[in-house]
Symmetry: C2
Subunit: 633 residues, 2 copies
């Protein structure tokens, strides 16, 4: 069984990232992030929970009820990392996780250490909030990743047994049910791909299609005292009138009727990833139209300039159109990771390069800000303003974000390039060496670039023998003009879905040089975003920039930018090597007034220069004041 796809990613082992930017992140991933995350898994009982469920260790369940998922996501990240470099320490950590997990599975296929250790009689009783299938979904993703990347079947076999158990309980003609926190749907689709068994795909389709039809299976759970006792804060699941409100879990309407993005942001992303795969598979236009509607609502009205999504802490998710507060932005790291994943599926479904504009905005900003340059401190939330209290920490009680950003960094090439049988796509020109086969001919592809610090890159194509295939080079929305040099001086055959298309026969050593003409540029938000009125944000290529007190010397909120003055780009060693942007403007002097409120004109203004750094790199020199949307002079 294989999905019908317009394009797909290259296997991770067929691409080697060679650039200084993502290359460094992947080195840090292997040398720092994965070893320290393993230590956290151990220190917080996440590994012990499996061993206790296996009876190999004394003790009861420790931590939050969905903590198993962190170990699974971690294993997935390790699998990706090991395609980059076969590091013995990472291999050992992965092996420890696999051994712990395989030992804990029950003979019937069930695995969830919270229920096994604390509530063995209450399995599948609170699907809405207790995350059994969510955890199972991450198990399956890990199983598929470890198998596909390393050929190791151990977790895959655990996954298959779990999936088969779920399908023995739930499904058409059996119990109607799905997980409050979507994840297993997309995982089952991956499992279908890895095993060639379409039953998992069809079961995922059933769960996606059942969701949102009234009555919800979650309504009955609210009437079940034992279910409620597992998660008593049910008030947040009800409308003001006390009725069940499905929005939090995207359970308010059948998916084809969704028009706006609602509820918990990560849940929403994971649902729509699965839905996009399903729509792609069947060329399901109605589903595709629904997904485009939701996507447009999200990216046109509810997404931060950093591609942070889900502004509110109260539901970890969405509120209303244009409600994008900066200081209190929730913008969970996982949600921006999820946006990369969903955007990628939309790209595969449509072939439309506009999706890459969002993918790279999330990748280089809202997601990447979630991890420190050192690779061992994290943000859970990613505000666009700080007054000095927002801080990176080594771990969280609810630690979904650290392994999520780890698996994203490990698999970044998935989002940079795409292939089909007769086409190669450069979505994002990250420097790499890759191999692929077009029309039966193996081809070496090499990208040399200094992305995201420059928009210039060189692409060398080396087929075993001359071969015809299409080359599609994305024209980013931020690129004012794109210059392409082929030695033969030919023009692109076409422009299609945001790509310049060359359709020709390629021979050994064919080389293109491309300049995306990256220039610093100021953007304004739609005036319905009240928090950004009179303000501007500074971008350069895919990067959004921010002003920190550390560079400015006083609170960045005091600064107002002259958006018409030239912006000076400076390559610096600072922050592991970044381009800083020097901006001219005015600054209010941070002097104390005699009175809290004084006559207008009391503030003193001075001419001022401000050095902006990439948003992803903020808060790497201690907690400090920061601002993305600065006032315009």
């Amino acid at each position: 069984m294989s999905l019908q796809r317009r394009m797909h990613s290259l296997p991770l082992s067929d691409v080697k990232i060679t650039d200084s930017f993502w290359g460094r992140w992947q080195r840090v991933l292997i040398d720092v992030t994965l070893p320290t995350q393993f230590d956290q898994l151990v220190a917080t009982g996440r590994i012990a929970n499996f061993n206790r469920a296996a009876g190999k260790e004394e003790g009861t369940f420790e931590g939050l009820w969905f903590n198993d998922s962190d170990a699974y996501k971690y294993a997935e990240a390790c699998a990706y990392a090991l395609t980059i470099r076969d590091d013995p320490k990472v291999r050992e950590c992965l092996n420890a996780v696999i051994e712990a997990v395989t030992g804990a599975q029950q003979s019937d296929g069930y695995i969830n250490t919270f229920f096994q250790l604390l509530h063995p009689t209450l399995k599948w009783r609170n699907l809405n909030m207790m995350h059994e299938m969510y955890c199972g979904g991450h198990l399956i993703e890990a199983g598929v990743a470890v198998f596909e990347c390393l050929g190791d079947r151990r977790l895959l076999d655990v996954s298959i047994r779990f999936a088969d158990l779920v399908m023995s309980v739930f499904g058409p003609g059996k119990r109607r049910g799905y997980c409050g926190h979507e994840e297993i749907e997309l995982a089952l689709i991956r499992l279908s791909g890895a095993t060639g068994n379409s039953k998992y795909l069809e079961f995922a389709r059933w769960m996606v299609e059942e969701r949102g039809h009234s009555p919800s299976p979650f309504e009955a759970e609210l009437q079940d005292p034992e279910s409620v006792a597992l998660w008593p804060r049910t008030g947040s699941l009800l409308t003001k009138q006390g009725r069940y409100d499905g929005q939090y879990a995207q359970d308010h309407l059948p998916i084809r009727e969704h028009t706006e993005i609602v509820g918990h942001a990560v849940r929403a992303m994971y649902l729509y990833i699965a839905a996009a795969e399903l729509g792609d598979d069947k060329d399901d236009t109605a589903l595709e139209q629904a997904l485009l509607r939701i996507w447009n609502n999200l990216t046109g009205r509810r997404m931060y300039v950093t591609a942070g999504i889900g502004p509110s802490s109260s539901n970890e998710g969405f509120t209303a159109d244009f409600d994008l507060p900066n200081l209190s932005a929730y913008a969970e790291t996982c949600a921006s990771c999820g946006l990369v994943f969903w955007g990628h599926k939309m790209l595969e479904m449509t072939g439309d390069g506009d999706f890459v504009d969002v993918i790279e905005r999330a990748l280089f900003n809202g997601a990447l800000s979630g991890i420190s340059l050192s690779g061992d401190h994290y943000f859970y939330t990613n505000p666009l303003e700080s007054r000095g209290t927002h801080e990176r920490t080594p771990w969280f009680t609810c630690a979904c974000c650290p392994p999520n950003i780890a698996r994203l960094i490990g698999s970044v090439s998935n989002y940079a390039y795409g292939v089909s049988s007769d086409a190669f796509y450069v979505h994002i020109p990250i420097a790499c060496e890759a191999q692929a086969t077009f029309n039966g001919v193996p081809v070496q592809l090499k990208i040399e670039s200094d992305y995201p610090w420059s928009g210039k890159y060189k692409l060398t194509i080396s087929p075993k023998k001359p071969v015809q295939f299409k080359l599609l080079l994305r024209i980013p929305a931020w690129s004012s003009e794109m210059e392409i040099d082929l030695p033969t001086a030919e023009e692109p055959a076409d422009y299609e879905g945001g790509y310049a298309v060359f359709d020709r026969t390629w021979t050994e050593g064919d080389t293109l040089t491309i300049d995306l003409c990256m220039e610093p540029n100021w953007v304004e938000a739609d005036p319905r975003v009240k928090d950004n009125l009179g303000r501007a944000a500074l971008c350069n290529g895919p990067l959004v920039y921010a002003l920190e007190r550390t560079d400015f010397g006083c609170a960045p909120q005091l600064f107002s930018a002259d958006v018409e003055a030239p912006v000076i780009v400076q390559k610096e060693k600072l922050l592991e090597g970044v381009n800083t942007l020097m901006v001219e403007g005015l600054s209010i002097k941070e002097i104390a007034f005699d009175e809290l409120y004084s006559p207008v004109g009391s503030t003193e203004m001075i001419e001022s220069k401000a050095k902006f750094i990439p948003y992803y790199a903020w808060c790497n020199r201690g907690p400090t004041d920061m601002q993305v949307w600065v006032r315009q002079m």
Copy 2:
């Protein structure tokens, strides 16, 4: 026993407010506010709770555990209102409350219908959160008010029995304890004044002085499971490290060591009212210095321009210096009422007119905004920006604010004028006719004004026979210059504590005309208030102004003001008669962008005029967008 005071208010019955502004509020108070509040007290079981505790009615306790206090504050407001006009409906409502309350008191003096009906064995077990003495404090205030205004002793006798019971349980040599929500301290001081018995004053002093010494009596309550069961959300009473944190209830340090204002805003106000009385009584310099420190921290760093205080909903109170968010401002109506009360005690203690600047800021803005022009809808919180969702409602589950603003309106003359044996103070020139005695001679005083719409007023002094006394006319901080005409053309003898002082012999018909030169003026906030950088607020005399969508036609956030252009004052019939202020500036056109984020320069600006209305009057034409701090051009 009487407190040693520099000055005091005139008895309410010796002043008749004659101005169109407060005169209208007091008419509405009697005709609308008090009758509808009584209906709410009945409809929500607040009266029934007393009758049930008395055994006169079937049923159990209804509502929140401190609901008795609403009936008491209501009775206090009725007492004040009946000095304004002897209205039969209000008299009947007050009588119904008094009868219900007197019937409910136990023979030992205890009265708290929550504990009597639900937890008779758990009295005095959770002083921190269960509000028994807080409710008792409001009972005492009502008892004193009804007695002093109407000569009716019924509630006073209930109060005395309750106070005596409290003093039989707590005090030096007995159990150490005080209420988590301060109130009874200030009430006992009033009771001392009304009864001439200094034991209540000394007991109040003991409670104020005991507070904040370690260990707190509330720490033991946290170890008492039955106490915790009464109010289980104890997490909010602990530090991050899990230790008891007294800040919420100002129980973190002995009062003389307080430097910053912390915790729940209304609690803080009520504590410091009592402390100011105690400091005044004994000329206690150390206590006075502590209070001035806290006052300066509050008004110099933690008070909105509207004199709203307590920015955060999480503790209904204070956070950090200069943390004054506009949209999410909590700024409870009760807290601004409390600020008027505390400011007034500070004024009496010091004679310093600077306190009146804060009192009238709170009175005309942050407190008065809490009630609709119609007198029957309320705000609990008073933000300085709205995006259309903030709304007035007829009542609240926690209904502390409606009767608080009612008692403030009923007693407004307390804050406008002051007397001592040889001096008359005009703090706020509200039009009135008053009588007082100076150096033994009865004097009629008459103020004619159109305050707050004009800063001009006329003061006529008519003693029975020529008499020497000091006349002190406040010079508001907002007054750029003050012109005073006496027919004899003499200059003030002195300027003292923010007052122009005339010390002379007055004879029948002596008349002064004063012009405080009220002009619209823009203010800026100290630049450490990050939310207001680049913004200005428009004021005129004591009033802060706001821009509503209703007048502007589109979101007020789109407007930026030309703070150098002339502001046109226009007297209008609108909103029961206000002066509006017309401002010039620019407005961003509220047009949708094609993309959420577009190149700078995408916004279109148009020249624009904006009509501002007084802040207190906002949201009287339906919920709408509103802004106080507008951007400067």
